[in-house]
């Protein structure tokens, strides 16, 4: 035999891996069919529910499997309510089946229950849920990655100053220079340097999470940059920076556009004031909608496989070929969108700063 010991070991490992996977699926199948025979109720595949579940936040980080047999990483639940402070791991809920410390999981939301098991409306309303959810865990993961990447890049600059960049440094430098020269400089103007760190942080945080969202399994799988809370915080920070840095000229333009008759100002001023808030609002919606839409499309293609699969196995197989092809195409498109949306958010933020900083030149 020409097989070296190393390659034969590899073969054994592969075989073992496949065997483990197969046994998992077989046992899952067996239990499922047994269950079906017992209850005689066919649970219909709900594409909408599946998609919403995938793009929403969760208290555990799903890895693989479905329903009762899902393998997932439990995440810490941190609650503050009128009952006080509470902190425990999410596997105590047993996917919404168990009550723990008077709390229960209902549709991925923590609700308070009383001794009889009924939902306690008053306590539920008072809950402030600051759990480390899937999105928060993704956020912490991406922040750690970004810190590691850019601190090591900064280190590379310190180690060999005035030399050509190498490795990770040479990958990041064009992006950094692009944000500085093509986004900050032309949009903001002379005082651009103050804003470059914020723009860079926003750009790389959005880009990293957009790309992370494209990875279907851990550490990806979360839809953080398509979450409205995430985009809202970034948009609010952009709004705050714009407002703080607004010059006299900027506010003058908002409240009383120069060279416009008083009668027109009655209409124009409310529009301008609305515009001040509308700009960050649009910023928030754009990123949220773009990233979420991408996830929904990819998931819809996959849902088609199961919808047709319920009709007949053959139809499911046939559709799966088309679905996979379309999902690959969408994945490539989303890759472009990941860069594009990070760029657009940064560019628009820079333009808002630029308009706030504008000095009168009449």
């Amino acid at each position: 035999m020409n097989n070296t010991p190393k390659s034969s070991f590899k073969h054994i490992l592969t075989a073992a891996f496949i065997a483990v996977l197969a046994s998992f699926s077989v046992s899952a199948f067996a239990e499922e069919t047994a269950e079906h025979h017992e209850t005689k109720t066919e649970t219909k595949f709900d594409a909408g529910k599946m998609i919403i579940e995938h793009i929403s936040d969760a208290h555990d980080w799903h890895i693989l499997g479905e329903g009762e047999h899902a393998v997932s990483l439990p995440l810490p639940v941190i609650l503050y309510s009128n009952r006080g402070f509470d902190c425990f791991l999410s596997n105590k809920f047993e996917h919404g089946h168990a009550v723990y410390n008077g709390y229960k999981l209902e549709e991925q939301h923590v609700v308070a229950v009383n001794e009889t098991g009924e939902v306690d409306e008053e306590a539920t309303a008072s809950i402030i849920d600051i759990s480390i959810t899937k999105n928060v865990a993704t956020l912490l993961f991406s922040v750690t990655c970004l810190l590691w990447i850019f601190l090591s890049v900064a280190n590379a600059y310190k180690k060999n100053p005035n030399k050509a960049p190498s490795g990770l440094q040479s990958f990041m430098e064009p992006l950094i220079i692009f944000i500085r020269d093509e986004v900050a400089k032309p949009s903001i103007g002379k005082k651009y340097e103050k804003f470059v760190p914020y723009l860079l942080t926003v750009f790389f945080l959005i880009l990293f999470n957009n790309l992370l969202g494209l990875i279907p399994i851990m550490p990806g799988g979360a839809n953080l940059s398509g979450n409205i809370a995430f985009t809202m915080v970034l948009a609010v920070i952009t709004f705050v920076i714009t407002t703080i840095n607004g010059t006299k000229h900027y506010w003058h333009h908002v409240f009383a556009m120069p060279g416009v008759p008083k009668a027109v100002l009655i209409i124009l001023t409310p529009i301008e004031i609305l515009g001040v808030f509308l700009k960050p609002f649009v910023l928030m919606i754009r990123l949220f909608a773009n990233m979420t839409a991408g996830h929904i499309i990819a998931l819809s293609f996959f849902a088609m496989i199961f919808i047709f699969g319920e009709m007949s196995a053959g139809a499911g197989l046939g559709v799966s070929v088309v679905s996979v092809a379309f999902t690959v195409f969408m994945g490539l498109l989303e890759l472009l969108v990941a860069f594009l949306q990070a760029y657009v958010f940064t560019l628009l933020s820079a333009m808002y700063f630029g308009s706030a900083l504008e000095e009168g030149h009449h």
Partner: protein, 164 residues
């Protein structure tokens, strides 16, 4: 509606982590990186400027060299020209002198010939005189014999005498 309802927990964590991220990255990554990039860009720009300056200096030097070379060439041409002229002059001088000398020699020869000719003529004249005397003597002697014969005789004598 679930999708567009921002969760308080994520907002809280987002504010906390983003602030930390922004602070640490600004202080320890962006500022040093941007400063280094700027420094490097300035170094590159300075180097380029210096290179341009050096190039300008080089071209100036080249132009100067060219000028020097041209000057040298001109000088050389001048010297050559002058030398040629001098040589020409010497040549014409020599030729003229030689011609003059030759002429003089010819003149001298002519004069010599003239003198010789005069001397010869004088000699001839003497000879002719003597000859005439001789002829006259002979004629006179012949006269005594017959007139016609004498005339014939004189003619014969005259024919014999070669006057050259």
């Amino acid at each position: 509606m679930e999708l567009v309802k921002p969760a308080i927990g994520l907002i809280f964590w987002m504010c906390v982590t983003f602030s930390i991220l922004l602070f640490i990255l600004t202080k320890f990554a962006w500022k040093p990186i941007l400063a280094m990039i700027k420094e490097r860009e300035q170094t590159i720009e300075n180097s380029l400027n210096e290179a341009n300056k050096a190039r300008a200096e080089m071209s100036q030097l080249v132009a100067k060299n060219e000028e020097l070379l041209n000057q040298a060439k001109e000088e050389r041409n001048k010297i050559l020209h002058e030398a040629k002229e001098a040589a020409e002059k010497v040549k014409t001088d020599i030729v003229a002198r030689a011609q003059k000398e030759a002429e003089e020699k010819i003149q001298m020869s002519f004069r010599e010939i003239e003198i010789q000719k005069k001397a010869a003529i004088a000699e001839i004249k003497n000879s002719v005189g003597l000859m005439a005397l001789e002829i006259a003597e002979k004629v006179i002697r012949k006269e005594l014999k017959g007139n016609s014969e004498q005339v014939e005789f004189v003619n014969k004598l005259a024919k014999e005498s070669n006057l050259n």
